[in-house]
C-alpha cells in the first residue's frame, strides 16, 4: 500500500500494537535538558528503575543558562539547583552531558542536528515542544511531557496513537529576501495556530526543497505553532551533505547503509494525505506577528486587523484582547510600529545561516538610538563558526550585543527578559502574552527583519533593500 513519509517512519517503529491499546513505538534518540528532566529522573529513582539506553540519550543545558557568563554563579539560586541536578543525574545514570563549559553546549534543537544525532527515519523525542525541529531531516520528532520523558528513560519507547497526515506544499520560488521564517509564518497565518492539531505535517514543494537544512529546521520548528504533532521534510541530497562527517552520524559501511535506507524515505506517489494545503511561494511577503499568538500574523506591507471585520465571536474577542495587550490600533501600518528591543536567537533562528542573514543587514550600520539588540548564537559551535567568519565583529560594531549560547529571551527563564511595555522584534517562535517578560510585546520576525528593525528603530520592508 502506498504510504506517506510519516507512515513509513511510524510503521518501522511500532514495537507492540494490540487491539484497544495505544501502540508502543521505539525511540531512537532522546534529548534531555535541565527544565523538564529533574522530575523524570527522580521518578526513576523512586521506582528503582534503570535508564534503558544511556547511549541513546543526550543532555545539554540551555533554558536556564546565562548568556553573559559561563559560570554557575551567574544563575539564580533555583536555576543553579536545576542545572546542578542535571549534572548529578547525568553522572548517576551515565548520560552524556554537554554542560556550560563544553564546546558542544547549546540549544538542544541546535545541538542535536549539528552533532549528527538527528538522522532521517529515526524517532526523536525531547521534553520540549520545539523538538519538531528535527523533522527537517525526515525524522519523526516531537515534544513530550515529563511523565513521557520518564517513560522513554525507563523503556526507550512511548505509547502513541497514529496521527492524521497533512501535506503542505509551497509551490514555486520565494522572492528576494524571503526566508524560511516568512514561509512558516505565512503557513501559520493561513491554517491558524490550531490548524495542524492532530496531524503530522509533511512540508514539500519547490520552495521547501530549495531551503538549506537550517531553513528546513526553521519551518519544522514552528510546526508546533500550528498545533501539529510534528513537521517533516523528506531527506534528499542536502540532508546527506549536511550530516556527512558529523560527530554522531554513521561512518564507513554504516553511512552507506544509511544512505540506501534514506533513499526510501519519501511519500509514495499515490499515497493519500488526510488533508492538503497549497501556498504559492511568490505570494509570500516578509511576515511578522501583530498579536499574541503566532497565527496573528500579517505581511510587512499589511495593516493591524480590525476586530469589527471578524464575524466569529470567539475570534473577534481574541483579536480585541490581543490588540489591548499589544497596545496597537486596528488599521496601523506595520512599518509604523516602533520597537525598543531586538532578540536574534532561539531554536527557530540561531543557526549560522540566520546569523549571516542578520549580519548582512547590520553590516556598516548602527543600532538605532533607544534600541537594545542582542544576538544569541544557538550553540558553542555556531558561535565559533560565526566568530571565524567575523560576524561577531559586524554585530558589535553595529551596536548589537554578542552573547553566549542558550534559549535566552525566547522564553526568558534566565535574566534576558523584557520589561513591561517593551516592544521586541524577535526571531523566536512564540508571541504569547508575557512570554518574554510580563507586560512585554513580542513581534515574531526573520533574522533579516529583526536586524533591519534594530537599525531603523521600527519595522521595515526588507525587500526594499534588495
Amino acid at each position: 500500500m502506498a504510504k506517506t513519509l510519516y507512515e513509513k517512519v511510524w510503521d518501522s517503529h511500532v514495537v507492540v500494537e494490540n487491539e484497544g491499546e495505544a501502540p508502543l513505538i521505539y525511540v531512537d534518540r532522546h534529548l534531555v535538558h535541565e527544565v523538564t528532566s529533574p522530575q523524570a529522573f527522580s521518578g526513576l529513582k523512586v521506582a528503582g528503575r534503570k535508564l534503558r539506553a544511556p547511549e541513546k540519550t543526550f543532555a545539554t543545558m540551555d533554558h536556564n543558562t546565562s548568556t553573559k557568563s559561563a559560570t554557575l554563579d551567574a544563575l539564580s539560586p533555583m536555576a543553579r539547583i536545576q542545572v546542578e541536578t542535571l549534572q548529578d543525574n547525568c553522572k548517576e545514570f551515565g548520560v552524556r552531558l554537554y554542560d556550560i563549559h563544553h564546546k558542544n553546549q547549546g540549544i538542544v534543537h541546535v545541538m542535536g542536528p549539528e552533532l549528527g544525532i538527528t538522522l532521517p527515519g529515526t524517532v526523536i523525542v525531547c521534553g520540549d515542544s520545539h523538538t519538531a525541529t528535527h523533522g527537517a531531516f525526515g525524522a519523526l520528532a516531537f515534544g513530550i511531557g515529563t511523565s513521557e520523558v520518564e517513560h522513554v528513560m525507563a523503556t526507550q519507547t512511548l505509547r502513541q496513537n497514529r496521527a492524521k497526515t497533512m501535506k503542505i506544499e509551497v509551490r514555486g520560488h520565494v522572492g528576494a529576501g524571503i526566508t524560511a521564517k516568512d514561509i512558516v509564518l505565512a503557513i501559520i497565518g493561513k491554517i491558524g495556530m490550531d490548524g495542524g492539531t492532530g496531524y503530522v505535517i509533511e512540508f514539500c514543494g519547490e520552495a521547501i526543497e530549495a531551503l538549506s537544512m537550517e531553513g528546513r529546521m526553521t519551518v519544522c520548528n514552528m510546526a508546533i505553532e500550528m498545533g501539529a504533532k510534528a513537521g517533516m521534510v523528506a531527506p534528499d541530497g542536502s540532508t546527506a551533505e549536511y550530516l556527512k562527517g558529523r560527530e554522531f552520524a554513521p561512518k564507513g559501511d554504516a553511512w552507506e547503509q544509511a544512505i540506501a535506507a534514506w533513499a526510501e524515505l519519501k511519500t509514495d506517489e499515490d499515497a493519500v494525505f488526510d488533508a492538503s494545503v497549497v501556498l504559492e511561494a511568490s505570494d509570500i511577503a516578509p511576515q511578522l506577528t501583530w498579536g499574541t499568538n503566532p497565527g496573528q500574523v500579517v505581511a510587512i506591507d499589511g495593516l493591524v486587523p480590525n476586530p469589527e471585520d471578524e464575524s466569529n465571536a470567539t475570534v473577534k474577542a481574541s483579536i480585541e484582547k490581543a490588540l489591548k495587550y499589544v497596545a496597537l490600533s486596528a488599521g496601523t501600518c506595520m512599518t509604523d510600529v516602533s520597537i525598543n528591543k531586538v532578540f536574534i536567537g532561539s531554536c527557530t533562528n540561531s543557526r549560522i545561516e540566520d546569523l549571516r542573514d542578520a549580519a548582512l543587514h547590520a553590516k556598516g550600520r548602527k543600532v538605532a538610538a533607544g534600541v537594545t539588540a542582542i544576538v544569541v548564537p544557538g550553540s558553542g559551535l555556531v558561535k565559533e563558526q560565526a566568530e571565524a567568519e567575523g560576524l561577531d565583529k559586524i554585530f558589535l560594531e553595529a551596536g548589537f550585543e554578542w552573547r553566549l549560547p542558550g534559549c535566552s529571551m525566547c522564553l526568558a527563564m534566565n535574566d534576558d527578559r523584557l520589561e513591561a511595555g517593551d516592544r521586541c522584534a524577535s526571531t523566536s517562535n512564540r508571541n504569547f502574552e508575557g512570554r518574554q517578560g510580563r507586560g512585554s510585546r513580542t513581534h515574531l520576525v526573520s533574522p533579516a527583519m529583526a536586524a533591519a528593525a534594530a537599525v531603523a528603530g521600527h519595522f521595515v520592508d526588507i525587500r526594499k533593500a534588495y
Partner: protein, 201 residues
C-alpha cells in the same frame, strides 16, 4: 496516578480561546525540581496584579468569591497550546482541578493531563457555550464529569457525551502506572532493538 471515575464539583470559566501553557504556568516558576507546589502560581500573570503574587486581580474569574473551591475548568478551543511543560497540568491539579472541559486541546497538553489524572474533556462549541451560560447564570452550580459513563451533566441536567481513547480511559479509571505496563513489554523491546540496522542502533 490517582484514579478518575466520576467527579462532581463547582465549575469556573476562562472564556478565551488558545489559553497557552505560558499563561497556565509562567516560566519563572519552572525552575523547581519537584512536581508539587505549582498551584499557587497557576495563571500567575492573570491572577495577580503584582509580580510577587500578593495582590489578587479581582477581575479574574478564579479570584471571584463565587468560584472559590472550583474543581472543573471550562474554556474555549485549543486549550493548553504552546510549550510542552508538564508543569501546566501539575499546576492545575495542585490548585484543585480534576477536569478541564473545552472544544479541543493542544496534543501535548492533552496527553500530559491524562498522565497526571487530570481529565481533559472535549465537548462541542455549542455544548461548551451552554455549560458556560448555565454556570454563569447559577451561582454554586455544579457540573458532573463521569468517565465511566463518558458523560458531562450540566447544572440544568443536560447530559453531553464525550469520547476518549479506550486505553487512556482504562488507565485513568484504574490509576495505572503507564511505565509499569510498558516495562512488561521488555522482551518485545529487546527484540526490536536486536534487529536495528547499524546506522541507527
Amino acid at each position: 496516578m490517582n484514579p478518575f471515575t466520576s467527579h462532581t464539583g463547582l465549575a469556573v470559566m476562562i472564556d478565551s480561546a488558545n489559553v497557552d501553557t505560558d499563561q497556565i504556568i509562567p516560566k519563572q516558576f519552572l525552575s523547581k525540581v519537584t512536581r508539587d507546589g505549582f498551584g499557587v502560581h497557576l495563571f500567575h500573570d492573570w491572577r495577580y496584579l503584582d509580580e510577587a503574587g500578593d495582590e489578587p486581580n479581582p477581575a479574574f474569574s478564579l479570584n471571584l468569591p463565587r468560584y472559590q473551591g472550583a474543581s472543573i475548568l471550562i474554556s474555549k478551543e485549543n486549550f493548553g497550546c504552546g510549550s510542552s511543560r508538564e508543569h501546566a497540568p501539575w499546576a492545575l491539579a495542585d490548585f484543585g482541578f480534576r477536569a478541564i472541559i473545552a472544544p479541543n486541546f493542544a496534543d501535548i497538553f492533552y496527553g500530559n493531563s491524562i498522565n497526571n489524572g487530570l481529565l481533559p474533556v472535549r465537548l462541542t462549541d455549542v455544548e461548551v457555550q451552554q455549560l458556560m451560560d448555565e454556570v454563569e447564570a447559577n451561582e454554586g452550580a455544579e457540573v458532573t464529569v463521569d468517565l465511566e459513563a463518558l458523560t458531562v451533566t450540566s447544572p440544568s441536567g443536560s447530559v453531553f457525551n464525550f469520547e476518549i481513547a479506550g486505553s487512556a480511559r482504562h488507565n485513568l479509571l484504574n490509576g495505572l502506572d503507564a511505565i509499569g505496563l510498558s516495562l512488561a513489554c521488555a522482551d518485545q523491546i529487546a527484540r526490536y532493538e536486536a534487529q536495528l540496522p547499524t546506522w541507527k542502533a
